[in-house]
Symmetry: C2
Subunit: 336 residues, 2 copies
DNA sequence: GAGGACGGCCAAAACGTTTTGGGAGATAAT
DNA sequence: ATTATCTCCCAAAACGTTTTGGCCGTCCTC
């Protein structure tokens, strides 16, 4: 039903070859013929069949991205922003984006394999790397181009962009120390994520350097959601000697922690300090506005996508392993 | 480089046809040959080339979804949840999901057209319909299967799922009236969206029915972000006679409104009531927990995807236009 | 006027599948 | 012995492109 190149050939009386070449601006077709072909193609509403094009070209011009969803109430500002970054960039470069949703686990790898081996994508974007990330190992084995957001702890050589979470936490802890806090607790994301270890290390090292430590009961673990931030903060506040400052491993848990504080009638920023990590858009308009470490998620999405496209196209990269310096954003949630 | 069906044929000494048929379980190949072929295919690590398969089958098994992003700091829990719904469902049914990001406007329609005409997708999911939605008109014209989240005001016959926003707002307003509120303000999303008119109508009609009205200066407009909720609520609170209750057209703006209230040292739920719409996961853990109207976004994503797949596969639908009854979720942000 | 260069065009192969329409040989029915 | 019916298999066409290699004139050059 749709118009093919063959239809145009028939209509113009030219060969398929000539039509194809005319439409692609080759110079071995005369200007008049080209003009004529282009015009009829337009009239007939021709759009190339991308499947056929790709089969022939042996390239898909498609990037793969697997969204690690957790349960139905999946809602993380991190991902919408990141997705916007990679989506926009891919679009600008003429690439499509194939998105799958899959919680980490067994079937996850199967999807990666199938998309690659089925030649559905030219490359992958991997997000939220884990310490020993099977996805990275698989992609390396298969020789598929990919770029990751985050490092692993295996000493693998692969392209990534990451933010120096340890440095970020360090800045944050120093800030709190300077404000006089001595009892600082930390709600950590699950340690299977590399960024979680990284951030925890930053907290611990900075405290140690200051002659303090992170006591065992001041280190609790959440699952990155607001709900768990609330629950864990509540536990911290119930301690016989509760902390005067709570750092959360991401903004979402920090918001939860703020709610926990407020639920007991205390005031965030005055009675107790709360800080996050990520600087999601909500951090600015929360009450009180959240002190946090900025992570340019959108920009990282763009960078990763551009790197991946360059790799796919065989262009050289200036640097394949980029670690961004974090930036501390001081707002009111830790007081003055 | 990758293994093709031809390689298997060569290795097994059978024809391409037989290999293909064996792998698809046709019964005109003997059990022994089939077994042998399947085994070697596995040994050789064969994965069918989906491009070729699709070109031949004239189906893509892919659904299209265009994420309407607004600027780099795009972050809306609505979309992550919706995306999870459609992504999971598509995956279960063996469909891929092709996601583009594109702000509404000129180029938007071009993308829809290209994906359809380029035979990249079998159908589309349209989200956040507008009153006169050019996307719907285009898709209808092209005869592409699609299902929308939301209605339009043109009287077009197309499949959709929507929630009865007017009824939801009605319940919310009644709740506030019952609590004694008489000065109720509304922060509306842009009226180009059908759901915005719907919700506004619900607010106005219910107030009118109660012998009240929505005065002009109590009706303000935000852009669905938390930031604009904060700004507009601030304007409302600056009025000579400020409202005692603020309803926001979505949760995100409600959170902003809550911040605005708290910034002036007032207490949400005691000094002033704030309510939202959507019941995003954050509503539950905000402080105070937000009274809002529940919208089962994940489930709607699932429903829409299932409907679309049925349409594509030519199966009959029980109902093509579904309007869900909303549910009021009373929490503490409007007091007792 | 022979040789070469060039401009404009095209047939055919290729990409990796699935499907169509048989065909060969064995067994069963007449 | 002929015909019919299976069982197992295959060659070739098709899906819609791009690319390869070459062909046929015309125009120039010596």
């Amino acid at each position: 039903m749709p118009v093919t190149i063959k239809d145009i050939a028939k209509r113009t009386g030219k060969s398929i070859t000539t039509v194809s070449r005319a439409l692609h601006g080759y110079d071995d077709v005369s200007p008049e013929t080209r003009e004529m072909i282009v015009r009829t193609a337009e009239e007939m509403g021709y759009t190339p069949n991308l499947l056929a094009q790709r089969l022939q070209k042996q390239r898909t011009d498609t990037l793969g991205f697997i969204l690690p969803t957790f349960g139905p109430r999946f809602s993380d500002p991190f991902f919408s922003e990141f997705l916007a970054g990679i989506g926009n960039t891919a679009g600008e470069y003429g690439y499509d984006l194939l998105v799958s949703t899959q919680p980490p686990g067994e079937k996850e790898l199967e999807i990666y394999r199938k998309k690659v081996m089925g030649r559905q994508v030219d490359g992958f974007i991997v997000v939220r790397t884990r310490c020993h990330d099977p996805r990275i190992q698989l992609l390396r084995e298969m020789g598929t181009p990919f770029v990751a957001f985050g490092r692993t702890e295996d000493d693998l050589d692969y392209p990534f962009v990451d933010e120096d979470g340890a440095a970020g936490m360090s800045m944050l802890v120093e800030h709190l120390l300077k404000l006089g806090h001595r009892r600082i607790a930390y709600i950590s994301p699950p340690l299977e994520y590399t960024f979680a270890r990284d951030r925890l290390r930053g907290v611990q090292e900075t405290l140690t350097a200051a002659g303090l430590a992170l006591p065992e009961d001041y280190l609790v673990f959440g699952d990155l959601t607001q709900r768990s931030g609330l629950a864990e903060a509540a536990r911290l506040l119930n301690l016989p000697e509760p902390p005067t400052a709570i750092i959360a491993g991401n903004d979402l848990m920090a918001f939860g922690a703020m709610s926990a504080v407020q639920q007991r009638g205390m005031q965030v920023g005055r009675d107790i300090a709360v800080a996050g990590f990520d600087d999601t858009p909500m951090a600015e308009t929360a009450h009180p506005p959240l002190t946090t470490v900025h992570q340019p998620i959108y920009k990282i999405g763009r960078m990763i996508t551009e790197m991946l496209i360059k790799i796919i196209q065989g262009e050289p990269l200036e640097s394949t392993q980029i670690i961004l310096k974090p930036q501390l954003i001081v707002r009111q949630s830790c007081g003055e």
